[in-house]
Symmetry: C2
Amino acid sequence: MNEHASLPLGAFRLTGGFWRDRAESVARDVIPYQWKALNNEVPGVPQSHAVENFRIAAGEAGGSPKGTIFQDSDVAKWIEAAAYSLATKPDPGLEARIDELVRLVEKSQLPDGYVNTYFIAAAGIGKRWSDLVMGHELYCAGHMMEAAVAYFGATGKRRLLDVMRRYADYIGTVFGPAEGQNPGFDGHPEIELALHRLAAATGEKKYAELANHFVDARGKVANFYKGEAAMEGMIPKSRWFRSDYYLADKPVREMDAVEGHSVRAMYLYSAMADQYRMTGDPTLRAALDRLWKNAVKAHLYVTAGIGSQSHGERFTIDYDLPNDSCYTETCASIGLALWAWRMLLIEPRREYADVMERAMYNGILSGISLDGTGYFYVNPLEVGPATAYRQDLSHVATSRVGWFDCACCPTNVARFAASAGARLVTVAAESLWVHHYATGSVGLEFAGKPVTLSMKTGYPWDGAVEIEVEKGDSVGFALRLRVPSWCASWSLSVNGSPVPGTLGADGYAAVSRAWNAGDRARLDLDMSPRFLRANPLVREDAGKVAVMRGPVVYCAEERDNGKNLHLLSVDPRLGAAAVTEGSLPAGTVALEAEAFRDAEGEADGPLYREYDAAVSAERRKLTLIPYYQWGNRAPGEEMLVWLRVRD
Amino acid sequence: MNEHASLPLGAFRLTGGFWRDRAESVARDVIPYQWKALNNEVPGVPQSHAVENFRIAAGEAGGSPKGTIFQDSDVAKWIEAAAYSLATKPDPGLEARIDELVRLVEKSQLPDGYVNTYFIAAAGIGKRWSDLVMGHELYCAGHMMEAAVAYFGATGKRRLLDVMRRYADYIGTVFGPAEGQNPGFDGHPEIELALHRLAAATGEKKYAELANHFVDARGKVANFYKGEAAMEGMIPKSRWFRSDYYLADKPVREMDAVEGHSVRAMYLYSAMADQYRMTGDPTLRAALDRLWKNAVKAHLYVTAGIGSQSHGERFTIDYDLPNDSCYTETCASIGLALWAWRMLLIEPRREYADVMERAMYNGILSGISLDGTGYFYVNPLEVGPATAYRQDLSHVATSRVGWFDCACCPTNVARFAASAGARLVTVAAESLWVHHYATGSVGLEFAGKPVTLSMKTGYPWDGAVEIEVEKGDSVGFALRLRVPSWCASWSLSVNGSPVPGTLGADGYAAVSRAWNAGDRARLDLDMSPRFLRANPLVREDAGKVAVMRGPVVYCAEERDNGKNLHLLSVDPRLGAAAVTEGSLPAGTVALEAEAFRDAEGEADGPLYREYDAAVSAERRKLTLIPYYQWGNRAPGEEMLVWLRVRD
């Protein structure tokens, strides 16, 4: 197993283009802004207290920790994001800040290794491990372990890694299947992913084995360490906050369909994938395949948002995909991408990369503003006149906000964007697999021979990708380039000569040859705008289309198209054209489509009237912008992804 | 003012047809069943305790009252329904039951006149009038006053009337604008309607003046008697349970648009109409006209359901009419009909009768099963695969239930149906105005001359209405027959000779002449099925049609059309035909339409695919049944009113 290797962060060096811009925005805008937010220095937004909590736990400040019980994880994810940024863009001031944080974390650590500001220092809180269901101790531990691994990877500094190893060692004594050990697991999966990374960073397999234990114990432990019994009745009359919400109602190998809290689900499935890569257990793989199939078949918004309802922030039943009341949390799409990436590492099939790409360019980036300081927690596909008014839509923000009481998403999107370069290509079986296209360069070795490749592309706005051998002579390997399933027409050439279609069953176009310095491969992907319809079983999308171009989903926004966007309809036969829209960031491709707008002259007319033919409508142009850019130009705008078809 | 007079209950004697059937069902099925429910004798449903509460308050049983704080009103509405039934169908056993109840109510009355089982006998409850916002004391008083008036009207027995007069007299000392009086009013309007009826029954104008005081005080009293201040913060973070929910945010004469809890709103607007009939105050009429216009223009479901959201059971913004998550409480449609009836009494215009009729044949009767023992509190227009699963739809029952914890609707629909015969015709200005068509007879007097008329019709299934002068000679009066606005084609004849179209601006066809015994007028209304579309501003109905025939709204149900009803679409040009469906009650007209059903072969297909043309669909017949009959044949069925158009 584990032949497919991801490259270390920074091995693929982003030198330009879309993801380089994002990484620079994270370094320039996001990390400094979030540092202020975590230090209560942003006026007018919910106060985080997260850094102060560590000062309190370290004994350097008075009071009691404030914020959510998992506030520590925001600090951890910020460190992780900052570490990724440091790995490619040194910043001594930032490093000093992190070192100071690390000092506080270490100082807050109890002699037995325990780290958690809330359970150490908050007034009136129960004993450690007394609330595995909602206490998030192992979850917070996991995020700080990921931060430690990232910071070690970026700087070689071991201090935080050592702190978190001590904590992991202690956790390994508390939890486990042995007599006298706590047989429980966290209500929110996360530590499993972290322990696998810790194992890789330290070479200590025991951490991965502890992760596997947590996965294996899930759903098997009777009453889930007291907590589960209480959990069943946690919220009176609730239909949701039961063990399925926590992915604890059955052993993972018996899971057939995605369920529960969508972020918890994504992290658990990611941990299962990590475990499969380690163990090769076919029963895990079978479960993963079932879960993946169900997720992709019936639970994925076109934006790669997941989680159809607010209550429980969770999955509902197959094909239930409301566009206005969905939850589609930014963190859930991040979790989906993390899962898809792990599935790619198991087996490079474009269906994994396609879903990951859908998340990368849509449902994840929609969660952060273009300037890095405004966020959506919920990413709806439709914001209408009633959104700001209806109680059942009260979870949907119609304007970006600066911070949240529960601020899991901002730091999560920061760490994701800052590490995107590490999830573009993999190496296996004398092949370079290019899953995602970006501008950068990478040094590799095949059969002992070094080679340096560069990739240049305007993706996702442009479908041309050029890969050049910069250094290296007669290195034999296969270049395997994903042809996205959305792409109906593509071509591949090497040194200007067309390479006949060699699309594998895996969805990758392969060119296997001896490569020499100066050799160039070029992939051209057709980027024509596409009109998509949903499976007829999706009630909410019946009679509607979504518009994509390349991997980017488009939406109509009020600023360009006026109020009452539901009055708009399109005829897919009339197509759409790529245009430049001056109010969007340079380089962005907007679309213009022929459309219709139902007459509004009936505003004072009767509520119901005889159907004659269609409602009278006027032809007009419709401007569509990338979905992930919505809510950046004017606050409180209407927005619509699925457009009615008028044909 | 007040020229338009409704007739006393029983003056129009139902002798057959739709509403006679309903009245008989109330007498035979509903009243006995609800008596059992109120006495905790129906197994497997929420226990009411309502009758027992009066035994407790009367000192004849121990314990503390149970159920909602307004449980007394269920007993009151049951008495009212039973009284209406007795008025047309004597039943000594039933009368004895009511007399026993009246004895308990009287015995529970405190020396100062106060009646309320909760505030008298419940443990741990505050002092009387300490919670005008949610305590519902005046609300319960109002319902019992209505019961008293109805029982007095049906039997001439004064005992309950006297009890409630004493209570009203006491209330009149407590509440009022004078120094030292309580300037408050009830959080839930109702007593206002009752006081007007009490004034009419007793000839004591002071009761109506107290009603008017309650209306006038609303929204003017600073902080609404302590309660309002508390109310503003009642439910943390709630956007709804503020004074607008209680229709207490502004004086009634400043109200421009319907708002708040929809039942409260309907009862208030009804009280305003009663007050206008009494006072002729043009500022009240102007407010009523604004509210009516707004309600009809932008808040009325095609079924006459009102109240777009569950939270607050309330109105939202104009044109926000979701079909699956609506509240559309049975009581709200009843309130709408009561308001519309009062508007008709102010001025006979068919728009009032049309709305009332829409409620009568759709949104009200949908709340009660055909056998009288199963109820819907919420009347959705769409029940889909996810309805039983989604938390935000958890207020929507997919199967009829036998009783509710909060059981306001069952007894309300019983009293409404039992008194329907009293809201069909009015007499004014030497005219008989026939607002609603039903089979029965009525004795009248014009210019001192008696006349007996009979009406025969198969309405709402058949559009022919025959009115015959049974007794009376050369009585001069105008017969004014409503031509519903839904009716595109109609004809009127007298004694077989066509009467040329004489439709007034009021929407009534008038024949003014001397009538003699044996004269017959005949109205024929075109009952062709109609496809309706909603105003384009109704987002949820875009691209869809509803089907009506006469005043009856139709729906598709799973039993006839299979699961996943959203797969169905219709082409209005292909029309629909009246058919008999054996599983429905005899006489019911069902509809059959040419329709399409999207292929389900894609169940395992991709979630999103290129739009080619329309989804492949097969032609099939679609069976539509009257909306009010839904949920009577199989539990948990899908149901759909608004059908997609495929044209």
